[in-house]
């Protein structure tokens, strides 16, 4: 039975006609696995009027796309999406099937794995495959990120995993890449579905979404109190960045949970991340370590945050921040004026 299962599949989550980033990242990760196993890489795409996304999926590395395009699939619902995905999986039996660990990706993967009666590894952050045994080695942080566990699924196929956003890397898209499209109809009637999406409401309150910010200034308990933490807001304002925080700061009530970075908050990968007065507990570091450039300010030279940082500043944040804010104000004003001269 298991010998019939071939191919690496990635579920292509889309939202309002755009493929979400984690799915493109998974095509990058899936490409490596498929090459090692010498099998095709396929995207699985479901939605309403989504066929035009196939070229993008090829450009990001897929050889094939399985598509189901139906008005019933306009909004995500477990029932209808699960039916569609199961149809493809039961007919074409992949050996590996990856999903983004988003709310909908996790929801869908859990339902699909139950129906296919196979194993599902949750929230994976490392993926590899052992070529001889063709086993997927899916590793995930456990017990608060203090330890990693590698999970195998030896006897059931497909081997399924959900993978955290922002840990895998998407490939550079290759414009004009082509592949095979396998389109099949969805066998579901609206009147047989038991759930309805009544409305979708976007949260417009958050001015700049933290996980999309280029610059994040994050503060920890080292700022001492809310007054000290105000300096974090000030620096972020000057740089046009967003404010992040450690869990202890959120628990102290200095800022809302929306700003918490880390394992139980959000994962971010900005171009610049300031970690100020943050000790660098693993639970915090997992949420920011993939930032492009990390500047840590801490008065304890042995703080673990310095292991994760690109630049380490040992010093008192309450002393450094006011000076830093002033220096940035001056420097940015100069840049601006020079810029204006150039444009004039």
């Amino acid at each position: 039975m298991m010998e019939n299962n071939r191919g690496v599949w990635v579920y292509m989550e889309q939202k309002e006609g755009r493929i979400v980033n984690v799915s493109l990242e998974l095509l990058g990760a899936g490409r490596k696995l498929a090459d090692k196993l010498n099998v095709p890489l396929s995207g699985v795409l479901l939605g309403d009027k989504v066929k035009h996304l196939c070229p993008t999926i090829f450009e990001y590395g897929a050889d094939e796309v399985y598509v189901m395009d139906d008005p019933i699939l306009k909004n995500y619902r477990t029932e209808s999406f699960m039916k569609g995905v199961n149809h493809f999986a039961e007919k074409y039996h992949p050996e590996i099937f990856l999903f983004g660990a988003t709310p909908n990706g996790k929801d869908l993967a859990s339902a699909v794995a139950t129906d296919l009666c196979t194993g599902l590894t949750a929230d994976t952050t490392m993926l590899d495959v052992e070529v001889e045994t063709r086993l997927l080695e899916a590793s995930r942080p456990a017990f608060g990120g203090n330890i990693m566990a590698t999970i195998l699924c030896k006897k059931h196929r497909p081997q399924m995993a959900t993978v955290r956003p922002k840990v895998m890397k998407a490939l550079q898209p290759e414009m004009g890449s082509k592949g095979k499209i396998i389109e099949e109809p969805l066998d579901v009637e609206e009147e047989n579905l038991r759930t309805k999406v009544l409305e979708i409401v976007k949260d417009t309150k958050k001015k700049l979404k933290l996980d999309e910010a280029d610059i994040i200034v994050a503060g920890g308990k080292g700022l001492v109190d809310e007054k000290g933490f105000a300096l974090i807001h000030e620096l972020a304002e000057v740089l046009g960045g967003s404010v992040g925080a450690s869990r202890d700061v959120v628990e102290a009530g200095w800022i809302g949970h929306d700003h918490q970075i880390g394992q139980t908050g959000i994962t971010v990968t900005p171009k610049i991340y300031f970690a100020i007065g943050i000790s660098g507990a693993v639970q915090h570091v997992v949420g920011m370590k993939n930032s492009e450039l990390i500047i840590a300010i801490n008065k304890d030279a042995n703080a673990p945050i310095f292991d994760a940082s690109t630049y380490s500043v040992v010093g008192d944040a309450l002393e450094i921040l006011p000076i830093l804010i002033e220096e940035f104000k001056i420097a940015l004003k100069q840049e601006e004026e020079e810029g204006e001269v150039k444009h004039a």
Binding site: D123, P141, G145, A149, L152, R194, K202, I215, T310, L332
Partner: protein
Amino acid sequence: MHIVVCVKQVPDTRIIKVNPKTNTLDRRGIPAILNPFDSHAVEAGVRLKEKVGGTVSVLSMGPPNAVKMIRKCVEIGADEGYLISDRFFAGADTLATSYALYKAFEKMLEEKPVDIIICGKQTIDGDTGQVGPGIARRLDIPPITNVIEIKEVDEKAKKVVVKRKLEDGYEMIESSLPCLLTVEKDINPVSYSPLPNMIKAARYEPTIWKVDDLNDVDKKQLGLKGSPTIVAKMFAPPKLEGGKKIEGNAEQQSKQIVSLLLEKPELFEKKRGRA
């Protein structure tokens, strides 16, 4: 209305220590507690009961000492507790767990119908969030995950409307009953237990079923044997290297940071664009 909340006893992983040399967990003295997410699920069940009437049962698969955790649920306001406990269940991954709990639901359904099932969003030990949707699939009822509010319940029309959290907002979903919800912590705070509940809880004895008390169980699908996934190894997370030190007094350090960042002018484009 019969509301059933699934609850799991977990080690308090928030205080668990990992031995960095051996990569093993030091479980000594770590208390077993009600999974924190599940306390919100029980509370959600109790509040729903206060609104529409009925009973709240809790169901757990776990070791015999999980009785204590079930008493905790009675303190929060649950009326009945069911525990399935047997060595056949041990070592289950999420697939085998949802199978065992599904069999327990079948048994419960012989006594009375279930209108709504509530699970926590995830546990703090296995931390997968997969068990709830798995139970729903096996019972063939709709699962709705990441619920932050139960907006309306219409018992006659057998319908609920719930608010489901998304990454960038929320959606309102209408579902027929019975259905299964997994709830976020945001759904409600857990209130202090009233004294009468505490008194009832102290003496409460839940219904305990062993595997042979359930009907038509395929033992091959239970516990370690019935689990497709295995934890093959544990290892320390990859070590980070650390970077360059910026020396000097506060002023010198600030100047260096500024000039470092100004070397990356593209980073300030947005700011300038707005200015």
